[in-house]
């Protein structure tokens, strides 16, 4: 269907535009990168020579990722409002394309963040990853859910005041089930559980991403065209 293809192309274009802008200024990347690095350093320092179980370590990793996400993923929409480019964007592309494009952008940000933080985390905390494939899968699927939800919440927050705090306040209740599942999945991966056994966990991650993603795609037009 040409309508869908056009939408996807528009989404791709929006994502590309945001990425290009991002590589020029590196604003969001530095924000989340520095935040994550700082948190990681503090955690590593605080833990010191103590030996931590896989359970706790997987929780710590996702806490760092989550808070880094809170620090940087609202930029994609807030920036549009601040730079007054939002009305132009509304005219230029259909709402769903905007959501998909920005969602993809946030996903890329998350992946880049993890490429930096996860190896560092493993090295600094002396982690042994039992099942790397599963570990990676949990990261990816968790990112999908994270990106989907934070993008639509960012769009909401951009139209409100008190944006920074509001973004975290709104995101957290929605993301908690995802967080719980990601920590559980990471724990299983660190402990070396086979991917087959963890299939139920992965299934939940997929279900979450699909459910929230679908709901977001349906709800996005209602909140985006609101001005």
């Amino acid at each position: 269907m040409s309508g869908a293809k056009q939408q996807l192309q528009a989404a791709w274009a929006i994502c590309g535009k945001d990425l290009r802008a991002e590589f020029r200024t590196r604003y969001a990347l530095s924000a989340i990168g520095l935040f994550a690095l700082t948190t990681l350093t503090v955690v590593s320092f605080a833990v010191g020579p103590l030996f931590l179980e896989a359970d706790l370590l997987s929780a710590l990793l996702w806490v760092i990722l989550f808070f880094a996400a809170m620090a940087g993923l609202s930029r994609t929409f807030v920036h549009e409002e601040e730079a007054r480019t939002a009305p132009a964007l509304r005219l230029a592309a259909p709402p769903v394309a905007v959501y998909l494009g920005k969602g993809l952008f946030n996903l890329v940000l998350l992946l880049l963040l993890e490429a930096l933080i996860v190896p560092l985390f493993i090295a600094m905390m002396g982690l042994r990853v039992g099942n790397p494939g599963l570990f990676l899968l949990v990261l990816l699927l968790g990112d999908a859910g994270l990106a989907g939800v934070t993008t639509i919440v960012a769009a909401m927050v951009a139209q409100a005041s008190a944006r920074g705090a509001l973004f975290t306040v709104l995101s957290f209740p929605l993301l908690l089930p995802l967080l719980i599942q990601c920590i559980e999945g990471a724990r299983a991966a660190l402990a070396g559980q086979s991917t087959a056994t963890a299939a139920a966990s992965l299934g939940v991650l997929v279900a979450y991403a699909v459910a929230t993603g679908t709901a977001s795609v349906m709800l996005f037009p209602a909140i985006w065209t609101e001005m």
Binding site: A160, A162, V169, L174, I180, A215, A222, I223, E226, M227
Partner: protein, 235 residues
């Protein structure tokens, strides 16, 4: 109107009904509730308030969806009123649940799945009202909060059905609700008081919700009149 008379009768009945429920809850022999002692009586308040929380939030979500479809201002009002009641009963349920947890398992809070769920609901609706407070334009406020409400609706099943199945979380101790309702071998008199409490609290919610909506509608009508006449009405 005839049904208004009946509604009045119903309200007085509710008043007396709850008196009876209270009497039953406190005068019933505590041994009928198991071996937990007098504190077990809190179950007559904890489960009904938790139930009303869920009811109120479900109703709120329905009105939010209606708003998104038809953009009727009344729907937005109804959603907010129900959410307000929801958060109130959620607070009551959380506190009574915490007390119940202390009595049954010795700690006020355990992060067990059901406790986590009710806590997240509390956070969610606090966030809902924070969102509403942060938006000044009426229509934007209504649309954003309605969308957020629906997102919450989508996420709740993951809390309710998934979290309890996780190996890491559950397994600390059995959930009270599953125990009492799943087995349903409650003492018949206790069951009677319990069901009566359930109905009573539901009645309180319905009456308060209806009242809130009437007040909202009246205020709306006053606004319309003020605009028509061009001068403020003495409220």
């Amino acid at each position: 109107m005839v049904w208004k008379r009946w509604a009045d009768v119903g309200k007085w009945v509710l008043g007396g009904w709850m008196v009876a429920v209270l009497l039953g809850a406190f005068l019933l022999d505590a041994r009928r509730l198991g071996t937990l002692g007098q504190g077990a009586r809190i179950i007559f308040f904890h489960i009904p308030t938790a139930w009303v929380t869920v009811l109120a939030l479900a109703v709120s979500s329905v009105y939010s969806i209606r708003y998104l479809v038809w953009r009727g201002q009344a729907d937005d009002r109804h959603a907010v009123h129900s959410a307000g009641l929801g958060i109130l009963f959620c607070l009551l349920a959380t506190v009574t649940g915490s007390i119940f947890a202390r009595i049954t398992w010795g700690a006020f809070w355990n992060w067990d799945p059901r406790e986590t769920t009710i806590f997240v609901l509390l956070l969610f609706y606090a966030a809902y009202f924070a969102l509403r407070a942060a938006v000044s334009d009426e229509e934007t406020r209504a649309a954003l909060s309605a969308a957020y409400n629906v997102l919450g609706l989508v996420v709740v099943p993951f809390l309710v059905f998934v979290a309890p199945r996780l190996p890491g979380l559950a397994g600390l101790h059995p959930e009270p609700i599953v125990n009492v309702r799943g087995e349903l071998d409650m003492d018949p008199w206790a069951l009677l008081v319990f069901l009566a409490a359930l109905a009573g609290f539901t009645g309180i919610y319905l009456w308060t919700f209806h009242l809130a909506n009437r007040i909202g509608l009246a205020e709306q009508r006053l606004n319309v009149l003020e605009e028509r006449d061009g001068r403020p009405v003495d409220r």
